[in-house]
């Protein structure tokens, strides 16, 4: 039996082959900040980082994660992006928001001063039905303020 490393903690992985990372995070570990909105890899609500790479946890088989470190929104609660999202009003219902912040965190890690175009390119996989996009763009552009 292998382990799962989430936000710096090791968890014994005890799940049936075929289960998704998202379901294990939410149901087994209780990390409900990762949302599931489509469960088939289309919307980005379930985005987590695997060794820093934005990944759709709903279509990631948990047994393929291996030693890669999982970072969920719970591991990013102190990230300045959280504050900038709230300040810019970059959320309405908030259901897409954890995924948005996880995606944005990968972007600003690689590119601390992204351009508007770069933000749009890096955030296009996170659907927000409320249409908070203009404010999301602003939040990511001003994350260090």
């Amino acid at each position: 039996m292998s382990d799962l490393i989430v936000n710096g903690q090791r968890y014994a992985l005890d799940a049936q082959v075929g289960r998704s990372l998202a379901s294990v995070l939410r149901e087994d570990i209780g990390l409900i900040g990762t949302k599931i909105a489509c469960n088939e890899g289309h919307c980005g609500a379930c985005t987590v980082l695997l060794d820093g790479v934005p990944t759709l946890s709903c279509i990631t088989l948990v047994h393929t994660v291996g030693e890669r470190e999982v970072t969920t929104i719970e591991g990013l609660r102190d990230h300045p992006l959280v504050e900038s999202f709230v300040r810019a009003d970059a959320l309405q219902c908030g259901f897409c928001t954890p995924g948005q912040i996880v995606s944005a965190s990968a972007l600003v890690e690689a590119n601390p001063h992204p351009s508007r175009e770069e933000v749009r390119h890096a955030m296009a996989g996170n659907i927000c039905r409320c249409g908070a996009y203009p404010k999301i763009e602003e939040a990511v552009l001003t994350w260090q303020d």
Binding site: I32, A37, V82, F95, Y133, P134
Partner: protein, 753 residues
């Protein structure tokens, strides 16, 4: 003393007379413009917990021993179940209970649309429930689906009686007209797709049913669930602290709630019934497609003389005709109007309210028609609209409670006037243009709605009301209103919502009515508490009540002296000051409406049919703005949904079987961040002096209404092409361009003698 009065309530254009009880004298409106807290931007009070992933949505709730439901749904648009046997399914691993149509009337043996619920299984996990369903022995007699709405109308397959409306005499109106334009417009079916799917968790505690649900209307769910189950309403407790979007589709409990309640009863365990994204897109509602056959007559100076509309709506197997004729009846001063609306009953999923239902569609038709008329008359489209401005409501023959549409036009004008500049940007295949469209909609809200305000000895206030915040920021607006009235910094005000057992009745979050309904109740409650604080302070500090007011966390005396509020309330120790407030009546004999205009700048690649929207200017008259930050978010969200409706969203049906082909979000394409133009929000922040103690109207819906028409009109301005059908896909754009070219050719060709 409680006074009983009879008043009118309007939700999305439906007026009902009702009795309400008001107990205090109404509080006078605040002066216009930004106050200390109200009217100033404030980040959402519950933003952090949502952003940090701490907020527990219905989807996140995990109760000990909870079971999960999978629903057997019809793969056919129209069929009859000839045999159904769940014996094998009920013996599958992990299965705890099953339901068939014999057990629950929301399950059916005669599905009329793909996705109709037939049976349900509760099991230890969702996967086990889904696997068990595969063991259901079921046989179908597949019937021919009726899909074409025109055909349905011809066959008399209607949801209800056609709705006719006439004023004046349209024949006479056309006789007086110098110009007549007649056109057909079509709009598609659009899916709500809120990110949290419809779902409920039901749990019995003795004879009390707890319903945790993703809803826009806690009290509606309570009433409908109680009625369905034959329970007293207080035996149903409905909880929704956070919800992941609704847009009109979550106004009712839905079959999933009843399924979960019944299975919870049978198993004695909490039961979750959560829809998958695919089920969501089959069964939970949609903006129904419309066919609009419109005709307008006008004098040479642009004065409208007649408007006629024949509207066919593809409602679905159930549902309602949304108010597609509304804009035609209400937007302009036209003496002669005749409309008829048919609701076609077809074998598709039932519709549901979707952000300004009918008005989005009807405005697309009417406002495109007006631009086609303007082109024919060679009148500036904005001028044409000004000339037909209506100073009073012609439908009910009433004055407006307030109307600042002319001011909206004035503020839009500088953008509109850039037309030549924008057109001059055209370069190679890219043609640029500007278009505009007006907006009219309801948004008065109404009674009943209640709030309580509790001030503790620490000088902090808690607003209690059992409303829901669907993402519109209502909770934040309520905190601002209470803080303003109590003279407290907003971080000393907390708002408790989301639980029918904890707080009084609160309005539905629909029809742009939450803030105009709830806000006045919260203000009244805060006022009641403030009055008590002042009364206490007057006695403690030997002042007259009338010289005291609450400001900046202090009780301030006009003749000098200021005491922290907590000093006053601190006298009370464990005692509390309790204020209560109710939403007062709407102004009788008046029509309370919202107005606006949007200007769109677009660029069209005439070789590939690509359309890029560069800018949307949204000017709306929605009364007093409580939170300009949240308000601009609402406007942007509405415009963006409008752009999805305009360009890329379209529920596709297989013409042979009626199957929904794009239930998933790879194929059903909602806008992403990359599709968003510059959006300029400009709200006419003037209170409606006749409306409540706030003067705020609703804001959720107006911004989605004129977007598609403004864009289509901009496309005409840029290219001369008439797009008359939504979405404006590549093929529709290229078709319209080809048609325009054809028209151009025949115009240029010398006419044969």
């Amino acid at each position: 003393m409680a006074r009983l009065i009879r008043t009118e309530k309007e939700v999305e254009g439906n007026y009902t007379e009702q009795w309400i009880v008001v107990d205090e004298d109404p509080v006078a409106q605040w002066p216009s413009g930004p106050l200390e807290i109200v009217g100033r931007p404030l980040a959402r009070v519950d933003g952090a917990e949502r952003a940090r992933g701490e907020a527990v949505y219905t989807a996140d709730l995990q109760l000990p021993g909870m079971l999960h439901v999978a629903v057997l749904r019809s793969p056919h648009a129209h069929a009859r179940v000839t045999q159904l046997d769940l014996a094998r399914a009920s013996e599958a691993p992990g299965v705890r209970a099953v339901l068939t149509p014999d057990d629950l009337d929301v399950l059916t043996r005669e599905p009329g649309y793909p996705g109709a619920a037939i049976a349900a299984v509760a099991a230890d996990t969702y996967d086990l429930a889904a696997e068990a369903l595969e063991l259901a022995d079921i046989e179908w007699e597949v019937l021919q689906p009726l899909l074409d709405p025109d055909e349905a109308v011809q066959q008399g397959s209607l949801i209800d009686e056609p709705e006719r409306y006439d004023r004046g005499n349209v024949e006479q109106g056309f006789a007086e007209a110098d110009v007549v334009v007649e056109t057909e417009y079509r709009t598609q079916t659009v899916l709500h797709n809120s990110m949290e799917t419809h779902q409920s968790v039901c749990q019995w505690e003795g004879d009390l049913l707890n319903v945790y649900t993703s809803t826009q209307y806690i009290w509606g769910v309570r009433a409908e669930t109680a009625a369905k189950l034959g329970l007293p309403e207080d035996k149903v407790r409905v909880v929704c602290h956070y919800m992941g979007g609704g847009f009109g589709a979550k106004n009712h409990p839905g079959e999933y709630t009843f399924i979960a309640a019944e299975l919870a009863k049978r198993t004695g365990r909490p039961v979750r019934c959560a829809l998958t994204r695919r089920e969501e897109n089959l069964t939970t509602g949609n903006r129904h497609a419309t066919i609009q056959r419109l005709k307008v007559g006008a004098k040479a100076d642009g004065t409208l003389t007649a408007l006629v509309g024949d509207f066919v709506m593809a409602v679905g197997w159930r549902g309602f005709k949304s108010w597609t004729a509304g804009p035609m009846k209400m937007l302009y001063h036209c003496p002669n109007v005749s409309t008829v609306e048919y609701g076609a009953k077809v074998n598709t999923g039932p519709n549901a309210a979707f952000r300004a239902p009918g008005f989005v569609e009807g405005t697309f038709g009417l406002e495109c028609l007006l631009d086609e008329l303007a082109a024919k008359l060679e009148i500036d489209p904005l001028e044409l609209r000004r000339r037909n401005h209506s100073d009073s409501d012609l439908v009910d023959d009433r004055p407006y409670s307030s109307k600042n549409l002319i001011e909206c036009y004035r503020r839009a004008e500088p953008h509109w006037e850039k037309r030549d500049e924008v057109r001059a940007r055209s370069n190679g295949p890219w043609k640029h243009g500007i278009g505009m469209a007006s907006q009219i909609w309801f948004g008065a809200g109404g009674p009943p709605s209640y709030a309580w305000v509790r001030v503790g000895s620490d000088g902090r206030a808690l607003v209690v009301t059992a409303m829901q915040d669907i993402g519109t920021g209502t909770k934040t607006a309520m905190a601002q209103i209470a803080a303003e009235e109590l003279g407290l910094p907003v971080d000393r005000v907390q708002v408790s919502i989301g639980d029918s057992a904890r707080g009084p009745y609160a309005a539905i979050s629909a029809g742009s009515s939450t803030t105009p309904s709830m806000g006045p109740a919260v203000r009244a409650a805060a006022h009641d508490a403030a009055r008590q604080i002042i009364e206490i302070a007057a006695q403690r500090y030997h002042k007259e009540e009338r010289v005291l007011s609450l400001k900046g966390g202090n009780v301030v005396s006009a003749d000098g002296g200021s005491w922290p509020i907590e000093e006053v309330t601190g006298l009370l120790d464990d005692a509390q000051i309790l204020g209560k407030g109710a939403r007062g009546p709407n102004p009788t004999g008046m029509r309370v409406l919202t107005f606006g205009v949007q200007v769109a700048e677009v660029a069209v690649d005439v070789e590939t049919g690509e359309v890029r929207v560069d800018k949307i200017v949204a000017v709306h008259d929605v009364g007093r703005v409580i939170n300009p930050l949240g308000a601009s978010s609402q406007v942007e969200g509405g415009v963006i949904q409008g752009l999805g409706h305009t360009f890329s969203e379209d529920r596709l049906l297989d013409p042979n079987t009626g199957a929904v082909l794009n239930q998933t979000l790879d194929a059903y394409k909602m806008p992403t961040i990359a599709d968003v133009p510059e959006i300029v929000t400009d709200l006419i922040d003037v209170p409606d002096e006749h409306l409540t103690n706030l003067g705020s109207k609703g804001l959720g819906e107006p911004p989605i209404i004129p977007t598609s028409a403004a864009v289509a009109n901009a496309i005409r301005d840029a290219t001369g092409a008439d797009v008359r059908s939504l979405p404006i896909s590549r093929e529709e754009m290229l078709r319209a361009l080809a048609e325009a070219k054809e028209k151009e050719k025949t115009r240029e060709a010398p006419t044969a003698v």
